[in-house]
Amino acid sequence: MTSRTTRQRSPLRLAPAARAREGAVRALLLACAALSVLTTFGVVAALVGETAAFFADPAVTFGEFFTSTRWTPLFADKSFGILPLLSGTFLVTAIALAVGVPLGLASAVYLSEFAPPGRRRRVTGLLELLAGVPTVVLGYFALLFVTPLLQRVIPGLNLFNALSAGLVMGFMILPTVSSISTDAMQAVPSSLRQAAYGLGATKVQLIFRVVLPAALSGIVASVVLAMSRAVGETMIVSLAAGQRPLFTFDARETIATMTSFIVQAATGDQPAGSLASRSLYAVAATLFAITLLLNLASQLVVRRYRERYE
């Protein structure tokens, strides 16, 4: 990069009024930038306060929260074990990754290594369109198109099930995997490719032994990011997977995820400050922690294992 002269203080001597105006503009812009930090603090503060109140309640214990397999905060007989919600989230995310990662990676290989530039741009545009479909629409599609289709093939498939939600979510995360991985593969310098060809490699050998290993950090980051999106996805599961917290790994079952529970609890009429309403915050805090860890992990992977070609 060229050095930035703009970052240095202007050597001009300004009239006091002009200097005041410059200072005001600077302060205003700084306030804008500070807002994003404030947002994060807001999220954390909102979650921590109510979550602490939740665990302070005598009816709730840490041990029960993380080990019990019953989650019934909205019923009279309350039980607070988050495992069913975690297993539901895990189940849907696993299906989504099983679909989205191979398909997304293969698309990335095609787009980066085979497609001519014109087609690459057009196909990338269309994939962005897929990523831009509102998730409530994908939920509609999963519930009213994919589920009836699957029910013809798979006996015992519930109307609300983890399978079709996961399948559709796989296509939702496909563009994420594909676009970040494509960028990573494109960043592999052509000198490496030429060297491989010079050694007599075929294109397939080049892809598997040079391009993919060199782009690995970007690929891993894309997968982790896709995972975090799948964990945080709400509307597809709310509509297509149901709202029954069940500790199971059977994809045909109706389940609940952390996100679908949040929607269920927030759209019901739980009075603010009740234990049921606070359980929502505890679930949201868990969700936030998981996605934050995943995002940090993806950034770490990129920073740590990025191959540098300068």
Partner: protein, 425 residues
């Protein structure tokens, strides 16, 4: 490369866009052919997922559009007569004209019909219970006006393609007095109808107005915030701990699930500030959600403005804020616009945060202002799908078609703008 007949023309250069394809060289041997076959098979294999993704997208559009049509058999509460398009159409007086025809068909005299249309209260009552609708197909005839009533009995509802096959059967099976029609749920009246407990009467108006107000507020709030942050990071802040903190924050905020933003909105705007579940609270929540999108796009656009322009401006004696507002931002405006369009598209489709802050389940009329309870198009889709009623499914798919059309326009605009501005400097 050079073929017979090419004459003295220089050999064609290899296509510039794929410089490295040595596997295409004609090596001639069996081994070379096998290697080429393997590469081609692999290319086909990695192309399949691309096709799959695009096929899914196409299927989705196709499914939603066909779902917004259905064949229905209704036992009408009104006269049950339909009127040819030409018979009913009368420019801006079409509604009155069709109502008149219907009243006459019910056996009223022309004087009674005129009296009803002249009396505002009678008109209002009629409009509340009845709809004038243009149906593509009624009782075997194309493009008919039909006055439907909220008290009509819906006898049967068939999907588009099933109904095409069984059209004759449907017509034959309709009992006397029943009407067979192809209901296009997405018609002009869909935009004008208020919410209703009955699917045939339910319209998009409150959600449409709610979404428009939300978007307007989000643009008002998110553009200054996002662009301000980007300008600060790119033009003012050096590599200070604060700017690093802001950057770290932005990259992490982008990964926070939208439903968690809903919780933030619920705690801060709805409860702490006491706004309640109103449009303003929804817009503030969505603003926090999309600011990172605007920041990323604006930073990229600002960075693409060449430094020489800034230096020229400084050379002319401009202050820093003058450089920002007269050189950098005008140069970055198309890139920033792209980012704003993408942010709007995101805000338009967001459902979960609005559900969490408490967008109302049933909003009978369009919201009056930023402090009214509200609904939005995606919320309405969620509610209609949750009704678990086949007719409400059609209403939901009609709303989805509207939503996808608007998003399609926005994405094409962004795509076009981005390509134009890529070649700018």
């Amino acid at each position: 490369m050079s073929r017979a007949g090419a004459g003295d023309r220089a050999p064609l250069p290899a296509p510039a866009d794929r410089p490295e394809r040595p596997d295409m060289l004609d090596l001639g041997g069996v081994e070379a052919r096998r290697r080429r076959r393997r590469v081609r098979a692999f290319e086909a294999a990695v192309f399949v997922p691309v096709l799959l993704a695009l096929a899914l997208l196409a299927t989705l559009f196709f499914d939603v559009i066909t779902d917004s049509f259905s064949w229905q058999v209704i036992a009408p509460h009104n006269s049950g007569r339909s009127f040819a398009f030409a018979e009913g159409f009368a420019f801006h007086r079409t509604w009155e004209n069709v109502v008149r025809l219907e009243l006459l068909a019910q056996g009223r005299t022309p004087e009674e019909a005129d009296a009803l249309l002249a009396d505002p209260e009678a008109r209002r009552l009629f409009a509340a219970r009845n709809r004038v609708e243009l149906m593509p197909w009624v009782d075997g005839l194309p493009l008919r006006w039909l006055v439907t009533s909220s008290r009509d009995d819906h006898v049967a509802d068939l999907p588009l393609f099933e109904g095409v096959g069984r059209r004759r059967e449907l017509l034959a099976s309709a009992e006397p007095g029943q009407v067979v029609l192809l209901n296009a749920w997405l018609d002009w009246s869909f935009f004008l109808k208020n919410a209703s407990r009955s699917p045939a009467m339910a319209g998009l108006l409150p959600a449409l107005v709610g979404s428009l107000m939300l978007i307007a507020l989000v643009i008002l709030l998110a553009v200054p915030l996002g662009v301000g942050t980007a300008v600060y990071l790119e033009e003012y802040a050096g590599d200070t701990p604060f700017s690093r903190l802001v950057e770290l924050n932005l990259s992490n905020l982008a990964g926070v699930p939208s439903v968690v933003y809903g919780i933030l909105g619920l705690s801060v705007f709805v409860r702490l500030l006491g706004l309640g579940p109103v449009i303003l609270a929804g817009a503030l929540t969505l603003t926090l959600l999309v600011v990172p999108v605007v920041v990323v796009a604006a930073r990229e656009a600002i960075r693409s403005v060449p430094d020489s322009l800034r230096q020229a401006a400084y050379g002319l004696g401009a202050t820093r804020s003058q450089v920002v507002f007269r050189v950098v931002l005008p140069g970055a405006v198309s890139g920033i616009t792209t980012g704003v369009i993408l942010a709007v598209a995101r805000a338009l489709g967001e459902t979960a945060p609005l559900l969490v802050i408490g967008a109302a389940a049933f909003v009978p009329r369009p919201p009056a202002g930023p402090l009214s309870p509200f609904t939005a198009i995606p919320i309405q889709v969620y509610n209609w799908v949750s009704e678990n009623d086949v007719e409400f499914t059609h209403v939901a798919s009609a709303a989805i078609v509207v939503l996808l059309l608007v998003l399609g326009v926005l994405y094409s605009l962004a795509f076009y703008l981005r390509r134009r501005y890529e070649s700018r400097w």
